[in-house]
């Protein structure tokens, strides 16, 4: 930067200079407010049993999200349907609070016939959107809780030769509702060459079937070189091939998180062994972007679809016609709503009247001490 530019910069950041207004401080204020408020993030993990999903989540966030876990046996699995289990944990790091919700989907892909296994998951995602839509259209919008799913890690088995039919169908069913990040699980099963081949195969199949996975945004031109380089590396490594573990192993004199085999130690945080670090960096640095895309793209899609089905705005929010299968007729509902509206209006008028009365009384008492002070 030339001297002149430096001077110019200095001109506005120094509170003593005459031209300084002070709005350059705005990002700091936003930062302070958001740090106080904390962040919310909902991550959904989907994949067959035994792909290491829970271990990976525990490794990512260095916590034990499933302390009382009981793994069901095969006989129990025969009867099971897909469940949705949400666990929330509050993580704090250097004063920044993150309220992380992990939505697990046990039972996915377990049954012999897996045709129905994603309807439960899709209903869950839609329900969260519905709830948010309802809250957003309501009267009191101060404390909307955002439980929408911001990101979905889809676990692909490293044992196959690419995507299975179930993988393809599921991703196609949710790629318009949530950000899909495909992850190759248990990557220590693969040699380096097999891993590259599998990644290429998966990307080809994703293209072939028109699946829209989450794309990292390109680094802005004004970001520094390191960040740009990092973004490029991240983009080239999708889908990430990861290994999870929270066990500390002694390797080469230091303690690392890893898995101990008779033929060697797989280090979780070693970028030459697997893409765990890359996944973590991607998640952390793009948490904000994931939320934005959920809000601006997926949620808006949902909202416009929903509203296209008709609705009126009233003081109770959008009156959305229920699906014809359940719920009363739209006209009946309208009538109820109208009645309720009228009642609410009456109540408001009454409140206003009592307020005015109180005011008049106060005036009547004047400066003297009244009995009700």
């Amino acid at each position: 930067m030339s001297q002149a530019d430096k001077m110019k910069q200095g001109q506005f950041t120094n509170p003593e200079t005459p031209g300084y207004v002070g709005f350059a401080n705005l990002p700091n204020q936003v930062h302070r407010k958001s740090v106080k408020k904390g962040f919310e993030f909902t991550l959904m993990v989907v994949g067959e049993s035994g792909l290491g999903k829970s271990t990976l989540i525990n490794s990512l966030f260095l916590t034990d999200l499933y302390p009382e876990r009981v793994i069901p046996g095969a006989a129990e699995k025969i009867e099971r349907t897909v469940q949705i289990e949400a666990s929330t944990v509050e993580i704090e790091e250097r004063g920044v609070k993150l309220r992380l919700t992990v939505v697990d989907t046990p039972g996915y892909g377990d049954a012999i016939n897996s045709q129905d296994c994603f309807s439960t998951i899709i209903s869950y995602i839609d329900d969260q959107f519905e709830r948010y839509l309802h809250d957003e259209s309501g009267l009191n919008r101060r404390h909307i809780v955002d439980n929408r799913v911001h990101c979905c890690f889809y676990f692909i088995s490293p044992l196959g030769h690419g995507l299975k039919p179930l993988d393809v169908q599921f991703m196609k069913a949710i790629h318009n509702k949530v950000n899909v990040v495909p992850v190759i699980a248990k990557a220590d099963t693969l040699t380096l060459r097999e891993r590259e081949r599998l990644k290429r195969r998966i990307l080809d199949e994703i293209d072939e079937h028109g699946i829209k996975i989450y794309h990292l945004p390109d680094a802005e031109s004004d970001e520094d070189e390191d960040f740009k380089e990092q973004t490029k590396i991240l983009k080239a490594s999708i889908p990430f091939a990861v290994v999870g573990s929270n066990q500390q192993i002694e390797a080469k004199g230091k303690k690392v998180r890893g898995r101990l085999y008779p033929w060697g130690v797989v280090e979780v945080e070693n970028p030459e062994h697997n893409d765990f670090l890359k996944l973590r960096i991607m998640l952390i640095t793009h948490m904000q972007d994931l939320q934005e895309v959920t809000q601006d793209l997926h949620y808006e899609n949902f909202r416009s679809e929903r509203l296209k089905r008709g609705g009126r705005l009233s003081s109770h929010g959008y009156i959305l016609p229920l699906s014809p299968a359940n719920g009363p007729e739209p006209e009946e509902m309208d009538k109820d709503m109208i009645l309720q509206e009228k009642e609410a209006e009456l109540r408001r008028m009454q409140e206003m009247i009592t307020k005015m009365q109180a005011q008049m009384q106060k005036q009547g008492d004047g400066d003297g001490d009244g009995p009700n002070m």
């Binding site: 095969a74 025969i78 897996s114 220590d188 033929w263």
Partner: protein
């Protein structure tokens, strides 16, 4: 010393021992030379062995079979591309090769089942496999029931079905239990844990215990079945094997240099997994069990028990089978 168990069980000579003392013979007769005569005959005639591999795609079935028989015997070698798409329905593909070792010829047929368990809806995916197995029994039965029978009936019956368990580390899948339940009474099933380099040693032990328990709970009898142990020696041998099953295996057709020797293995950034190293995986145990000690027994159990069960069922229904005169004089393929 190769233990050559007698093919015809009515000749109850215990081949493993030479009756030294204890016999009341006054001199040497030469009865024990019958073993040598049988051996020569078997070597000349050669024998058939049919092995079926069942499991999801990508579990390394073809690689394992190639590693077991140290040759390219799987369907991959017969011109199938490595990265073939998953077929929409289950197919049954049989590929035969003749292998020779030490003067002994073996016609090995590997029956592969691509598409098993890979669909979204896997209901009844075991039916094509069950049908195939029964068809082979039917073929043999028809030949046997003929008026003019061939000297050696070509044996296409499945002697052994290796079932590949996905190494989830948790438990068996519903499909695994259903398949093994239904087929353990018509064929010898040997479950193996595929691609076991996914699991650490502790995880592997836990998983094996879990699998054994689930098999027991489901009443599934895998080979070697407890009820067919002939004597105490068999029982103790087989008990040892049953304790170690299912074998956790790793297959590979690539060789690497380790400590000065060439070994089959998989090379990763953190080490080389040696296929034949018993500290790494149980491939060597599986191979010894399958080929070096129980190959003949597998055939016998298939012939004497599974086939007989099928035959009895067939003869009891519809008042039995009618013998047909055989017109073609196809010799056995050796």
């Amino acid at each position: 010393m190769t233990v050559l168990r007698c093919f015809n069980t009515s000749l109850s000579i215990s081949c493993a021992h030479r009756s030294g003392g204890g016999s009341t013979l006054l001199g040497y007769i030469g009865i024990d030379t019958i073993i040598e005569q049988m051996r020569k005959k078997t070597m000349k005639a050669g024998f058939d062995f049919n092995i079926m591999v069942v499991g999801n795609s990508g579990l390394g079935k073809s690689t394992l079979v190639n590693t077991l028989f140290k040759s390219q015997v799987s369907r991959r070698s017969a011109g199938w591309a490595r990265d073939e798409k998953i077929p929409k329905t289950i197919e049954i593909k049989a590929v035969s090769h003749v292998l020779e070792e030490g003067g002994v010829k073996m016609k090995l047929t590997v029956v592969d089942t691509p598409g098993f368990g890979d669909q979204i809806n896997n209901d009844n995916c075991w039916e094509p496999i069950s049908k195939y197995i029964n068809e082979q029994y039917e073929k043999f039965l028809k030949e046997e029931v003929n008026i003019t029978r061939k000297k050696r009936i070509p044996d296409t019956r499945v002697h052994c079905c290796i079932y590949f368990i996905t190494p989830t580390g948790h438990s068996l899948r519903s499909l695994d239990i259903e398949f093994m339940k239904r087929l353990s009474h018509s064929v010898n099933i040997i479950p193996v844990i595929a691609k076991s380099d996914t699991m650490t040693i502790e995880e592997r032990l836990e998983f094996k215990q879990r699998v054994r328990k689930e098999l027991e709970m489901g009443g599934i009898e895998v080979y070697p079945q407890k009820e067919f142990d002939e004597d105490m020696e068999d029982k103790s041998d087989n008990d040892k094997i049953r304790e170690a099953m299912p074998f956790a295996v790793v297959g590979s057709d690539k060789e690497y240099q380790v400590n000065g020797k060439r070994v089959l293995g998989r090379k990763t950034a953190w080490g080389i997994v040696e296929v034949e190293n018993p500290n790494h995986c149980e491939f060597a145990q599986l191979r010894d069990f399958l080929i070096r000690s129980h190959l003949q027994d597998l055939k016998e159990v298939t012939h004497n028990i599974h086939y007989e069960t099928y035959r009895a069922k067939r003869l009891n229904e519809n008042g039995g089978l009618h013998p047909i005169t055989c017109n073609d004089t196809q010799e056995s393929n050796l």
